[in-house]
Structures are given as structure tokens and as C-alpha cells.
Symmetry: C2
Subunit: 327 residues, 2 copies
């Protein structure tokens, strides 16, 4: 039994592995964008989850690296295609692939990166292959579904909380869950523990996304690094908006409808008016409760794992890292 690696150590290990892998091949128009997006960095938390789960069961982390790298490649593939669909000019402060090259390059390099993800993920003992690939296929399909729901929401004004939770589950949470389960799977964890880790990933992912929505409006700007209430200004359907919309009286509904469709508006006034409605309906607390509920469910799944408390330490550290306190 070895000591658990810290998150920083795991991130370091992943960074070295990604830097050592050359994604450059011919034709360069196909492979340069892959190299480029992977060099943009990121915290590598998704692949770190694979390693954290594997480490929990004393598995040789070198052997779990291909699955971890595969999850990171898949994540970057989704970023490449999502950025085209969202017409995003920047990714991690740098020009997006379709802006630096063009949309065709973004589509095709993304496709190739998707295959590279599969190539990495399947590098495992054939005994685990059927379960691993089924899990990954299912997850990949759900991530596509999540992105489609998210795009639908832009023009859909009756988004229910149930559908919103489904969207963030698919768009964000399932990949965290898949990462954890993949690590546990190749480390030969019991089916029960695999499921607990999967469920932990789902609920910590949901809690994280709900927190993200709340902090966009109620977070201190310096902590969060984004424009305050950017979601309100861009008419994004967040848990705050949906909670408000579901409970609003006719006057409050008028305010929401007006500001979420207005083309000409004073940004400061829009934020103040919408936040007034949020405040009248106690939306922040309701969303915070929902977030804490998912956080608590995640914690129970972590508790129920059949490993010693010491071996859960890194995952606990991860939880603290992910969840900024919402006051």
C-alpha cells in the first residue's frame, strides 16, 4: 500500500505525460490544432479524477495514465467543437482553433482528436475493455445531448428546473463521473464502489455547476475572475433564472421577460432589476439549498466507499478545491 498522491502531484504527472506525447503528424493542418489546444493548458482536473480513483485502490498510476489522458483529449475535443458552435473567440485567453485557422479545420481536427481520445482510453487490459468503452460511449453521447439542450435553451423560454438539471448533468457532471468510474474500473474496484464514485461525480458536478451559477451573480469579482452577472447580461438560463421564472408573479414575470428579450438596455439597470426579482423571490437561498443538497449526496457516496478514510483524502481535497464557499 503506497501513500496517496496529492492533486498537485497528479496534475504534474498529467502535464508531463501530455507534454511528452507528440500529437504532431501529417497532414499538419489536422494535427497542429490538436497540439495547440492541448498546450493552452487547463487544470487537468478531469484526468486527475481518473488517477485519484485509481490511486484510492492502490493501482499503478502509470497504467491508468492512458485512460486519464483519453478523458482529457475527449474534453478538449468537446471544447474545440463547442467553441465553433458558440462562436467563441477566446479559450483560456487565447484565440480559439476555428478563429486561428477556420471552422473546417476545427471540425476535422476535433474529429481526429475524438479518435485520439478513443485510442488512449482503450489502452488497457482487455478484461476491462468492454465495460470501459461502454461507459465512455454512453458518456460521450450524453455530453452531446447536454450541449444540444444547452443550445436549445437559448431560444426556449419555458426551461424547467428538471430539464436544466438534466442539461448540466449531461454537459458537465457525467464526464467527472465517467473519469472517476474509469479509474476505479481499471483498478479493479468493486461494482458497488464504482457506482458510488460515479454518483459522487454526478452530484459534485451538479453542485459545482449550481455554485457556478450563483457565484456569477453573487460572487466577489476578484475571486471569480469573470464579469459580475455576465449570465444575466447574456440572457443565460441559469438555476437562478429558472427558479425565479417558475415562482414569479405576473409583475415579476414582466420584468424578467422584458429584460431577457430587450435588445436596447442599460446593463447596470438590467442587473439591478433582475436581481431585485431574484431577491424578492429568495432565489439565491433556494439555489444554494439545492446546491448543498447535491453536495451532501456526493458526500454520502464518498462515505459509503469501502476504502479506509485515509484513502479518501485526495478526493476530499478535490471537493474542497472545487467547492468555493457560497455565503
Amino acid at each position: 500500500m503506497h501513500n496517496l498522491k496529492s492533486i498537485t502531484e497528479l496534475q504534474e504527472m498529467l502535464q508531463v505525460s501530455l507534454e511528452q506525447t507528440s500529437f504532431l503528424a501529417e497532414p499538419k493542418e489536422l494535427y497542429e490544432p490538436i497540439s495547440y489546444i492541448l498546450r493552452l493548458g487547463g487544470k487537468r482536473l478531469r484526468p486527475a479524477l481518473v488517477l485519484m480513483a485509481a490511486d484510492m485502490y492502490n493501482y499503478d498510476l502509470k497504467k491508468a495514465l492512458p485512460q486519464a489522458v483519453g478523458i482529457e483529449l475527449f474534453h478538449n475535443f468537446t471544447l474545440m467543437h463547442d467553441d465553433i458552435m458558440d462562436e467563441a473567440p477566446l479559450r483560456r485567453g487565447m484565440t480559439t482553433v476555428h478563429e486561428k485557422w477556420d471552422a473546417n479545420i476545427g471540425i476535422l481536427s476535433g474529429d481526429a482528436l475524438f479518435v485520439k481520445a478513443y485510442q488512449s482510453i482503450v489502452k488497457t487490459d482487455s478484461k476491462y475493455l468492454p465495460a470501459l468503452i461502454d461507459l465512455f460511449n454512453q458518456t460521450a453521447l450524453e455530453v452531446c445531448e447536454g450541449q444540444q439542450y444547452d443550445m436549445n435553451f437559448e431560444t426556449q423560454d419555458d426551461v424547467s428546473m428538471l430539464l436544466y438539471l438534466k442539461m448540466i448533468k449531461f454537459k458537465t457532471a457525467v464526464l467527472l463521473a465517467c473519469a472517476l468510474k474509469s479509474g476505479a474500473l481499471v483498478a479493479d474496484a468493486s461494482a458497488k464502489d464504482q457506482q458510488h464514485l460515479y454518483d459522487f461525480g454526478i452530484h459534485i458536478g451538479l453542485a459545482f455547476q449550481l455554485m457556478d451559477d450563483i457565484l456569477d451573480v453573487y460572487g466577489a469579482q476578484k475571486d471569480f475572475g469573470k464579469q459580475i452577472a455576465g449570465d444575466i447580461l447574456s440572457n443565460k438560463k441559469t438555476c437562478l433564472y429558472i427558479t425565479a421564472y417558475e415562482m414569479a408573479n405576473s409583475n415579476q414575470l414582466k420584468v424578467l421577460d422584458y429584460y431577457f428579450t430587450a435588445v436596447d438596455f442599460d446593463p447596470q439597470e438590467k442587473i439591478i432589476k433582475v436581481m431585485e426579482v431574484y431577491s424578492e423571490l429568495n432565489v439565491k437561498l433556494l439555489c444554494k439549498n439545492m446546491m448543498e443538497e447535491h453536495f451532501a449526496i456526493a458526500q454520502t457516496h464518498l462515505q459509503d466507499l469501502e476504502v479506509s478514510e485515509e484513502r479518501k483524502a485526495t478526493l476530499q481535497e478535490f471537493t474542497q478545491l472545487l467547492m468555493v464557499r457560497v455565503k
Copy 2:
């Protein structure tokens, strides 16, 4: 030992299987385009190759169906994304997905269809899974590379014959080869036979593409169903053009350069002038020889298979079906 199924019977079997599979799920924006492109039809020759190879080794065709369907799903995924990149308005006489919906839907539905292809392909005995998925991953990556080379050629005027052959190998031939090898693989054919079938697929694919290039200019319109010399009019780098370009003297080079860059031209005159150069350089015969060479190599791989001649009958039938006689 059962009787071989004819190509028509295999195509019928595939059609029934594809029609019985529902690709409709939520969100419908993601899945309707998948259903739509699969209903556009096509000859289903690629999946038929999976079944032909499996049938050769007396394998239960029902068990090889998922691999066959997976190859067809993959093929349709590439069509969906290629049509976006090529800005194609029509596919099989019907509106393309990105035209009927939009480019974002085409990208994301394509991605989902790609996952569906993987889901279908991996439905096999776990004993074959590692080899099958490696083959499929490699093929998928090469198909991306082929499409990238093809796009590069549009603005590249020094395309060598070697690079051209690489492009058509990757864009067209490897999927035929992969289909045949997949069928043989799950039917437990020997490694030697698997390789012969793969090589047969490569060379028959190359021969087919070279034939396609020749017929575009020299085929009778009624047999071919396309505009005569459409490739010349659209400045496509085909084996005819590349052969001519590699051998042209300075005068002939001037003619080629002029007509392949001219914006304002009389179509009839362009075809006549370019064909004059082709004729002076004996380009048709040279390309026909190259085609026949690949056809002959394909035949030797078919001969070398360690199965009885009767069991090769359907693949022979396929060869005849594919290769229209070039006079």
C-alpha cells in the same frame, strides 16, 4: 457450411436492420438529423463488405450485423461533416443536414452519430474487441487525414501522384479494407486471410477511385449519371490532371495553369483544351494502366485467401459490380 448470400440479399438484410433500429431519442434536434441521413439510402456497400467477409468464413451473419451497421453509421457521420466542410447543398438528391437544419446541428449530430458507430461496432465477443477497436480507430483517423489532404489539394498546385494516392487511399480505400477485415476478424479468419482481405480492400478502393476519375472525363454520360468532365470544370486534382501536370512541357503547363486558375472561361472550350493536353500526353491510358495494376493486385489477394473458390464468389461479384469497364 451454408450457401453464400448474394450482395442483394446482404443489402436487403442491412436495409431491414437499419430500418428496425430507431435512432430517435431526446433531444430531437440531435437525433432527427441522424434518422434523416440514414433514410437517404445509399447502396450500403461498405457494411455489405463486412457481411461478405464474415459469410466467407461461415460466420453467423446476425452476429456480424452490429459491426456492419457500425461501419455504415461511421460512413454517414463522415458524410455529415464532409458536407459541411464542402458546403454541399445536396446529398443523394436531398437537402444536406446542415442546409436542412444548420451547421451547428450538423457538427453535433455528426459527433453523436460517430459515438453511435462506436456503440454498434463494439457489440462483439470481448475476445475480438481489442483488435476490432484498434482497426476502427486507425481507420477513422486515416479517413480524417484523407479528408484533410483532399481539402489541402484545393489550394495546392504541386500535388504529387504519391500524395494523391495516399489521399484516395485514406479517404476511400481504408474504410473498404476495414470493413472486410472487421468481418473476417469476428468470423475468426486467420491473420493472413485478414491481411489479404484488408489489402484487397485497399487496392480495389484505389482502382475504383482511379476509374471514377477516368470515367468523369471519358465515361458515357448515361452510364455515369454525372456531368461530363465535371472534375475539369471544378479544377479538381484527379489522377488525370496530376499525371498530365507531372509530364507536361512548358506549353502544356501553360494551358493547364491557365484553365485551372481562370475565373472567366467558356466551359466547353476549357474541357476541349484540357482534354487536348491529356490526349497529347496519353494520360487516359497511363491512368488506366495504373488502375488495372491495382485491380490486379486486388485480385491476387483474393486468390491467396485460404478459402475455396466457391466461397469467394460474392466478393468476385462485388468486384464486377464495382469496376465498370473502362474502354
